[in-house]
């Protein structure tokens, strides 16, 4: 269940498109809208994103051990294929 994690912003179109694509692929994922977090929780998650993607940009998609920065269909396909 926690194999796929999407760090996103609620207002970001690339995040929205990436989530839509994952939905179309029929996979389950956990999504965090970082812009909706505050305080310590936000700090913790920003740190988590930074460790996976030093640019702290969105979406940052983690599929197993693969980190995909931005909405790249081909990279998502590739990472899902390795299941």
């Amino acid at each position: 269940m926690n194999d796929i994690k999407v760090y996103a912003l609620s207002t970001c179109i690339h995040c929205r498109n990436a989530k839509k694509y994952l939905d179309e692929c029929g996979v389950k994922y956990e999504c965090v809208h970082v812009d909706e977090l505050t305080g310590d929780e936000r700090k913790k998650i920003v740190q988590e994103v930074k460790e996976r993607n030093p640019a702290v940009s969105f979406p940052t998609i983690v599929i197993k051990d693969k980190v995909i920065v931005g909405f790249h269909k081909d990279q998502i396909d590739e990472a899902l294929k390795e299941d």
Binding site: C12, P54, V56
Partner: protein
């Protein structure tokens, strides 16, 4: 103001400067709506594709149009959000690609 009005208003100002709205309205309209959402949330139109700090001074670089737009449109034909693009981008004469983040992560404070 709604997204359509914002579109008309900004188009008049930005097009003469060489910045065009992405002709893909499934991108442009939601982005303009998100700019209005951020205006409501923060009091200013912070970039919807970036993590805003929520304080005007700390988000100055990502007030739309952000300071990174010029370099990104020049290099990739589109800004980070792909809201503003070059004429060539809309004409389809350059390859569309994912624009990497240019904003330094240190700018995220909160």
């Amino acid at each position: 103001m709604d997204a359509k009005q914002l579109y008309e208003m900004l188009k008049k100002v930005q097009e003469p400067k060489g910045y065009y709205f992405n002709k893909d309205m499934d991108m442009t309209m939601p982005l303009l709506e998100s700019l209005l959402t951020n205006k409501e949330r923060f009091g200013y139109m912070a970039c919807p594709c970036r993590l805003a700090n929520g304080e005007y001074e700390a988000d100055k670089d990502i007030l739309c149009p952000c300071v990174y737009r010029e370099a990104d449109v020049q290099e990739y034909g589109a800004c980070f959000c792909a809201l503003y693009v070059s004429k060539e981008f809309n004409d389809g004469t350059i390859e569309k690609q994912v624009v990497p983040e240019r904003r330094p992560p240190e700018k995220i404070l909160f």
